[in-house]
């Protein structure tokens, strides 16, 4: 089953859709608007290899360890 690419390799400033998040942090991400099916984009890379995501008007910093566990589709 195709589950998209990981967020670490996703391009910046492109509309993305979250298709998979690890169970352990799914709830926390959901509370911040980043739930399965949500559309968002990446604004910038951060020190330490993370990204800043633009989600429904919020800027969410995501650590590098999480990026490889999040699967997205480019829309």
């Amino acid at each position: 089953m195709y589950v998209g690419s990981d967020l670490a390799s996703a391009p910046l400033h492109t509309s993305l859709t979250l298709v998979h998040a690890p169970e352990s942090c799914r709830k926390r991400l959901s509370c911040l608007g980043l739930r399965i099916g949500a559309r968002f984009s990446l604004l910038s890379r951060t020190a330490g290899g993370g990204r800043v995501a633009l989600v429904a008007g919020s800027r969410i910093a995501l650590g590098s360890t999480l990026l490889s566990q999040l699967r997205v589709e480019v829309r």
Partner: protein, 677 residues
């Protein structure tokens, strides 16, 4: 045993408001607790929604802050003095002016929480207070602070609370930030969609607070009909239902441009969180914090120190002499106990004030969240989040404000762990002793010896963090970094001053008793003679209870090579303040304290003692002493700060851990060193 700190006990709201035994009128007394009949309003909301700013704006300085009993989750509570529509005070002995239209409300600032799912101690406490306690102990109203610029993300908590049918209303903040992003909010339409009142406020500029007060008066105690929920036990389906409801509410109450414009914060973040420049900017900010907390505060500390050891002490001595108490134990108690203790406490005021101002500015501006992002990977290597970098860096200046700085950490377990590691950072007070011993024992290599202490200090922090992380803190999961970055804001003077004042009050309240009591205890021990022929308060140190105690513990340090009572008594004084180690030696050896850091006669006496106690290996013994000085309890003021931030249990645990670590390391350094030196 592992540190989990899930507040699993029944938490009673009356504990918070401090119910007095006799019912007093709402309008009398200046204490923190409002009258028993005062309604209890809980302020809840996600982090960075302006909740605490709102709390400060509503309560002013009428606030107490403290950890919730049995937990280390900090909860603030205070009185919100509002006007009321009718004089309806129900106090038994009412002294209200019937024309006065006031009503006090007990306001509780609950920890920031995105939901009431108990994923963290903060969320667990919020859940317990809102839904875990019996109905008659629940708050009379929940005010949920929501960020208008990130409306959808703020409403998850509202959705959950609406399902419970609690009396609630929404305080919408950041409307100005939302407007800059092209977002407009129709408060009436949003209120209708959410099924509860919505008021727009700006707590930073204190606008909309009257409307909020009116809404609170009107809706306190009035439950809203629970929002119907999907009949399912599937958590994902429930979440989908909530997000659909949130989506409908946002669509009905707000409109936003299809394309999100780049904001000022986005532009700044391109530099501040950038891979190379971000850490450079962070280090520059830390350098500034370090400079201000040491260089700027230092002259002020020196001034206060001089004031107490000079004019205040001289004045008190003169006054007591006029009263016929000169040279008596009363003079000793007043001058060497009370005045020295209060003086020591007050010398920390400039330092703590500056630290609290800097913390407030960093928090209020929004930079602290970025600092956490930039340092996350580095700090994660010892199991701490990026924000822990700040208190650890500040610790190299002074451990006392560094302990207070641990409150920037979002999780109570992280706060405790960091507060236990801070004392291993080598503060400037220890530096003075290192420099003196370095010049006595290491001559041209003094600088290298002092530098080695800093390297050992860093290793100690890493090692202690590593060990604690894999033992007592093994259940603390390595959660990935997920931070909601707030928009940058210009810190407001009023908010900064208010937060600083509240925190400084809290520090002084806790530290005053501990510091003054400890200094008085040291004076008392030094005043009690243990040999005949001396009066109380007029006894040489060697023949006092203090000297006897130092002699009693001296054999413990034989394996470390410095088993001389003159040396161990300096360590006992160093427990009170490291600055006092050299002056203690000067007093014990009855020689002048070196004024310029050179060893002088004092250095020769110290070296002779180390040579005698180490069996001809003074250099490893001196190194062992320096390592012990580095690793054991920094000072009583640090203990007072720890007591306030992490409670008595963990403070005492820290003292034990530091003493054991210091002794083991000192013995290891001496025993290995004597083989070579």
């Amino acid at each position: 045993m592992a540190v989990t700190e899930q507040p699993d006990r029944a938490l009673k709201l009356p504990l918070l408001v401090g119910t007095p035994s006799v019912k007093a009128c709402c309008h009398t007394g200046g204490g923190i607790g409002a009258c028993p009949e005062a309604p209890v309003v809980a302020l809840v909301g996600a982090p960075n929604t302006g909740k605490s700013t709102l709390f400060n704006a509503l309560t002013g300085a009428r606030v107490t802050m403290g950890n919730w009993p049995g937990t280390t989750v900090e909860v603030s509570h205070g009185i919100w003095k509002t006007t009321r529509d009718a004089a309806s005070c129900t106090c038994e002995e009412c002294t209200c002016d019937p024309n006065e239209q006031r009503r006090d409300i007990t306001l509780i600032d609950l920890p920031g929480a995105y939901s009431i799912d108990p994923h963290s101690p903060d969320e667990a406490l919020t859940r317990e207070l809102l839904v875990g306690v019996p109905e008659d102990e629940r708050p009379d109203l929940c005010v949920v602070a929501c960020d208008a610029s990130r409306l959808a993300n703020s409403l998850y908590l509202v959705a959950q609370l609406r399902e419970l049918g609690l009396p609630m209303m929404v305080a919408l903040t950041m409307l100005d930030v939302a407007a800059k992003s092209g977002i407009t909010v129709d408060l009436d339409a949003l209120s209708e969609a959410l099924g509860c009142p919505v008021v727009g406020i700006d707590p930073r500029r204190r606008t909309g607070l009257e409307a909020l007060a009116a809404g609170v008066r009107e809706h306190t105690g009035i439950a809203t009909a629970p929002r119907p929920v999907l009949e399912t036990t599937d958590a994902l389906e429930l979440d989908d239902d909530r997000f659909a409801w949130i989506s409908d509410a946002v669509r009905a109450g707000a409109s936003a441009p299809a394309e999100q414009p780049r904001t000022f914060s986005d532009k700044v973040d391109r530099w501040v969180t950038a891979p190379v420049l971000g850490p450079v900017i962070f280090l520059a900010v830390m350098w500034l914090v370090f400079q201000i907390t040491t260089a700027v505060a230092s002259p002020l500390q020196g001034f206060l120190d001089g004031l107490f050891s000079g004019p205040v002490t001289n004045g008190a001595t003169w006054l007591l002499g006029q009263l016929g108490l000169g040279g008596t134990w009363v003079e000793g108690l007043v001058v060497s106990g009370l005045i020295a203790g209060v003086g020591m406490l007050l010398t920390f005021v400039p330092l703590m004030t500056l630290m609290f101002i800097l913390l407030a500015v960093l928090e209020d501006s929004g930079y602290l969240a970025r600092a956490a992002v930039v340092t996350d990977r580095l700090m994660r290597s010892i199991g701490l989040p990026g924000r822990a970098f700040l208190p650890l860096i500040v610790g190299f200046g002074c451990n006392v404000p560094a302990i207070s700085a641990t409150r920037i950490l979002p999780s109570s377990r992280q706060r405790i762990l960091t507060a236990l590691l801070v004392p291993f950072t080598s503060c400037t007070a220890r530096l003075t002793v290192f420099v003196m011993l370095g010049s006595v024992f290491f001559g041209p290599y003094a600088g290298t010896a002092v530098f080695a202490m800093y390297v050992i200090s860093i290793y100690l922090v890493v090692l202690a963090g590593f060990v604690l992380r894999r033992t007592l803190w093994r259940t603390m999961g390595a959660e990935p970094l997920i931070i909601d970055l707030p928009a940058y804001q210009v810190p407001t003077l009023r908010l900064t001053a208010s937060v600083t004042w509240v925190r400084l009050q809290g520090f002084l309240r806790t530290a005053a008793g501990i510091i003054v009591a400890t200094v008085c205890a040291v004076w008392l021990l030094q005043s009690i003679p243990t040999t005949p022929g001396h009066a109380f308060g007029d006894v040489p140190v060697a023949e006092s209870a203090y000297g006897a105690a130092a002699q009693a513990i001296t054999p413990v340090f034989a394996p470390a090579g410095f088993a001389k009572w003159e040396t161990t008594s300096a360590l006992v004084v160093g427990f009170v303040a490291k600055e006092a180690v050299i002056s203690s030696w000067a007093q014990t050896y009855a020689v002048d304290q070196p004024a310029d850091g050179t060893p002088g006669t004092l250095g020769e006496r110290v070296r002779t003692d180390f040579e005698n106690s180490s069996g001809g290996h003074p250099i490893p013994a001196a190194l062992a002493f320096m390592v012990f000085l580095l690793a054991y309890t920094p000072c009583v003021a640090t203990l007072a700060a720890q007591w306030r931030e992490i409670g008595a249990k963990w403070t005492l645990f820290g003292v034990g851990m530091q003493l054991v670590t210091a002794w083991v390391l000192a013995v290891a350094v001496f025993q290995i060193g004597r083989l070579f030196l």
